[in-house]
């Protein structure tokens, strides 16, 4: 059996990144769009930690911690915006929120 290398982790990261991008682009429900953004941030974390192992250097893991922190802040503010939006428009579907449409 082939041994696992850093490349395998990078390919997994690419796959999660592309799946997350497809989720952001195709879904209407804003909650699922936010979850897809979390998927993309997790793909970033795999990259950082795989290279931390590859270079035998812990700095990548510190950056992964900062990425996790950012994801928390982003989720909190995003869901706050979503609640405010739902209070005004009674919907969570992105295609029904067309306040700025000409």
């Amino acid at each position: 059996m082939h041994p696992i290398t850093t490349v395998h982790y990078l390919v997994l990261s690419v796959a999660l990144l592309l799946i997350g991008t497809i989720g952001v682009l195709t879904r209407r429900n804003i909650v699922i769009v936010l979850m897809s953004i979390e998927l993309i941030l997790n793909a970033v974390n795999i990259n950082l930690i795989a290279f931390s192992h590859h270079l035998q250097n812990i700095n990548g893991q510190i950056f992964a911690i900062f990425v996790i922190t950012d994801a928390v802040a982003e989720a909190a503010v995003g869901l706050g915006i979503l609640i405010a939006l739902f209070r005004n428009k009674e919907t969570v579907l992105a295609d029904q929120i067309d306040l700025l449409r000409w």
Partner: protein, 166 residues
Amino acid sequence: MDVILFLAFAAIAVVCAVNVVVQTHPISSALSLIGVMGSLAVLYLLLGAEFIAMAQVIVYAGAIMVLFVFVIMLLNAGAESRRGRSLTAQLLGIPGFFALLVLLSYTVLRLFPDAAHVKFGGFTGGSAKDVGKLLFTEYLLPFELTSVLILIAIVGAVVLARKELE
């Protein structure tokens, strides 16, 4: 053993990630996302990042997903209808996804033809002690700025989600 663990949990992560995007009901997506987070935590352990793995389970699978499920329950959003899904988008999108995946994987393979083997225990610098030592010395300023960021996020979320006062 490493190979089996990696392949099993990478497969779980990818299947759950696809499920996040495919499911129509937000609760199903949220539960699949917890599956992704959990299997990624195992992969971080394989890479020797113990602290990040635990933070992944506690912060992502615990805190963030509880927040998501709470908001889904609060808004009582039902399943999304499947109307208006264009056929051309599906016919072009799915092959486009695989084409991009193969292209990027090929690029990575070309960039790292002789990448190091990842063995469990090959890197042991990821314990809470090592991470904390670096976080409180070299990265002290970014760490403190992060606390300000979190504070801003808390205040912003409260201001956005409260009821408008007349």
